[in-house]
Symmetry: C2
Subunit: 104 residues, 2 copies
C-alpha cells in the first residue's frame, strides 16, 4: 500500500514568480514533512482528455496514517499555509488523496 497526495496546478499568470516560490520556499517545506517517502514534481508532457496542467506534484507515504500524521504536524501546517500563498500564484485544479495498491 501507498498513500499519495496529488496536486494538479493550472497555468500561473506569472510562471517565473510561481516557479521561484515553488522551488525556493515550497520544496524545502515539503522536504521537511515527517515520513515522506517520495516526492515527484512533474511537467505535463502531453494531456489527453482535457487541457494540460502546469505542474503535477505527488507526495507519498507508507500508508494513510503516516500521511495524516504529516499533514497534522507543525511542518504540515507550515506547508499548508505556504500552499495557500502558492494558490494565489497558480490555481490548483485538483487535489487528490489516494490509497494505492502496488501492482508492479
Amino acid at each position: 500500500m501507498t498513500a499519495r497526495f496529488l496536486a494538479l496546478y493550472d497555468a500561473p499568470a506569472d510562471p517565473e514568480a510561481f516557479d521561484r516560490h515553488y522551488h525556493e520556499i515550497h520544496i524545502p517545506l515539503i522536504r521537511q514533512l515527517p515520513g515522506l517517502r517520495r516526492y515527484s514534481v512533474g511537467r505535463d508532457v502531453a494531456a489527453l482528455h482535457g487541457s494540460p496542467c502546469y505542474l503535477i506534484t505527488q507526495l507519498e507515504w507508507e500508508n494513510m496514517e503516516e500521511l495524516r500524521a504529516a499533514f497534522s504536524s507543525p511542518e504540515g501546517h507550515a506547508t499548508a499555509t505556504d500552499a495557500a500563498h502558492l494558490q494565489e500564484l497558480a490555481p490548483v485544479r485538483r487535489m487528490i488523496f489516494t490509497a494505492d495498491e502496488e501492482m508492479v
Copy 2:
C-alpha cells in the same frame, strides 16, 4: 527522472462490470508492457477541488523514451485497444503524461 502516465477514471455506471474487466483483463495486459517499472492503482480517498475520481492509475517508466517504446509495442497496442473497451464502462476524465523530477 521518471516518465509517468496517469489515468483518472470517472465513476462507472456498473462498478462491478468495470472492476471485473479492469482486474481480469486490463491489469494482466498492463503488466506485460515492456520496461514498466511501477504500476499503482489508487482509490480516491478524499478529493479537494472537484468531484472524486473512481480510480486513479499510474504507470512509470525510467524515462520518456522507454514509455514511448512501451506504448508503441505490440503489448502497448493490445493495452490501448482494451483501454478503449474500458472507457465504455467508465469514462476517463483525464489522461496525463508527465516527465518527473524526483525531489525525495
